[in-house]
Symmetry: C2
Subunit: 239 residues, 2 copies
DNA sequence: CGTCGGGTTGAGTCCATTCAACTTCGGTGG
DNA sequence: CCACCGAAGTTGAATGGACTCAACCCGACG
């Protein structure tokens, strides 16, 4: 059941059997959320962190004028709020974009892992560091890429991340978001988001219908995006 | 000499004498960099992480068209690349924006801290988590704030962070960057950056001359920025 | 069959960009 | 001492990108 977590952590360094059972003991209390529901509320002080087993979720902030900005997309095998273990107070919310099945990690148990299992601690720390690396890539995309390139980059990133946890189907993956939600990822208006999507479609590198994205030309998509997966740390080495 | 590091880590939770001496033993090998020099090169695999003792630095990425985007600003007491300890390969560069004095932390020593000093490990982990929280705030600013509000938010953030490490002077702080560099923070053209600065100046909330920013109306600046410092985790509690 | 949420398209406005000129100021050399 | 120079800041004008407002299409669903 924790296969996606093992795939996610295990891609960076090997996970011993002991560590796998520590993780199995750590994760308890499965829950489900409907699309649109808050998984974690802004301002709360959760006593546990949440791992996604199935579904798509996103971190977000809402401004005074009602504008919403997503700051990340979370897929199966991702902790949506592992940092809350040390940051304590959530400064933003986490919402389910599709029906989500999740499982929880008590902060008291996480703490005891940091006291007793240094290598596993480093792997969990690493998970939050990759989170940060993705954030930096998003900042670059928002600041200096064209909107089409930004969208292409997002698709590259999602495809590669989903591949790790075996949620791709050939060159296709399921992306259960509306254009309005995607606009809140890129920081655009809905109308303009629609035009950017059309532009990428018309260039013939992707198809997107029925909430399924198909990459028609992976090479060209990467070129448009200037995608370099280094930031995802997808190499297995001692950490 | 490590006072700014102690101030930085110590604002979140208390640092024991043992931990302070562990940190003193960790940080060795002082170096200096001139403004414009790379402190860490993109693509490198450093064997140590770098702490700023004095000066201003920034993480950045450069795109194929020559566009540059800063993804963070680093002040005294900040590790510029603590995550390299586990990420291994730098996917971006770190540049000195003003003359910088730094000191290094061998990754081998960091590793032994994770093996022997769990509480200090958590505080170092926390440092990288706040890094991530700042990234998320930048993403929100880039995506959904007006440019004036974004700039105001940046000034609020810098002021608060500099205050923690005692680098403010009343309501003023030193900001040794050109408007072109600031444009690479906000993702704007130089010309427009100049106009956004003018707008903020004309609203009477800040003055900026001789590389020194003075906050004239802290209340109103925070309003314009919708600044909420929660994300900086500036409370002392057990971590 | 009507309604509703999501997607698409057109038109006009505003924001941000580029290109270009001009100013200010500190430094440097005649 | 001042004339010159270059880097940084400022301003104007024109272009193009992104926004809003509005209409319309379409498929799912009651």
């Amino acid at each position: 059941m924790l296969e996606s977590l093992f795939l996610n952590l295990g891609q960076h360094d090997s996970l011993s059997d002991d560590e796998q059972s520590l993780l199995g003991n750590l994760m308890t209390g499965e829950r489900s959320f409907a699309a649109g529901q808050d998984i974690v509320a802004s301002g709360s002080r959760p006593a546990y962190s949440t791992l996604i087993l199935d579904g798509l979720a996103a971190r977000y902030k809402v401004l005074a004028d009602g504008g919403r900005q997503f700051t990340s997309l979370q897929i199966p095998g991702d902790f949506v709020d592992l940092y809350a273990f040390l940051l304590k107070t959530m400064d933003h919310g986490v919402i389910a974009l599709s029906p989500c099945r999740v499982i929880l990690a008590d902060h008291s148990k996480l703490r005891s892992i940091t006291e007793r299992a240094p290598h596993l601690t480093r792997l969990l720390w690493l998970d939050t560091l990759i989170d940060g690396a993705i954030h930096r890539e998003w900042i670059v995309a928002m600041g200096r890429r064209s909107k089409v390139s930004h969208l292409a980059h997002l698709f590259c990133e999602l495809f590669v991340r989903l591949q790790v946890v075996k949620r791709t189907n050939g060159m296709s993956f399921h992306l259960p978001v509306s254009q309005a939600e995607l606009a809140d990822v890129l920081g655009l208006s809905v109308v303009h988001m629609n035009r950017v999507i059309s532009a990428l479609r018309n260039s013939g590198v992707i198809a997107w219908a029925n909430h399924t994205v198909t990459i028609l030309d992976w090479q060209k998509l990467q070129q448009i995006a200037e995608f370099d997966p280094t930031y995802l740390s997808m190499t297995r080495e001692p950490r």
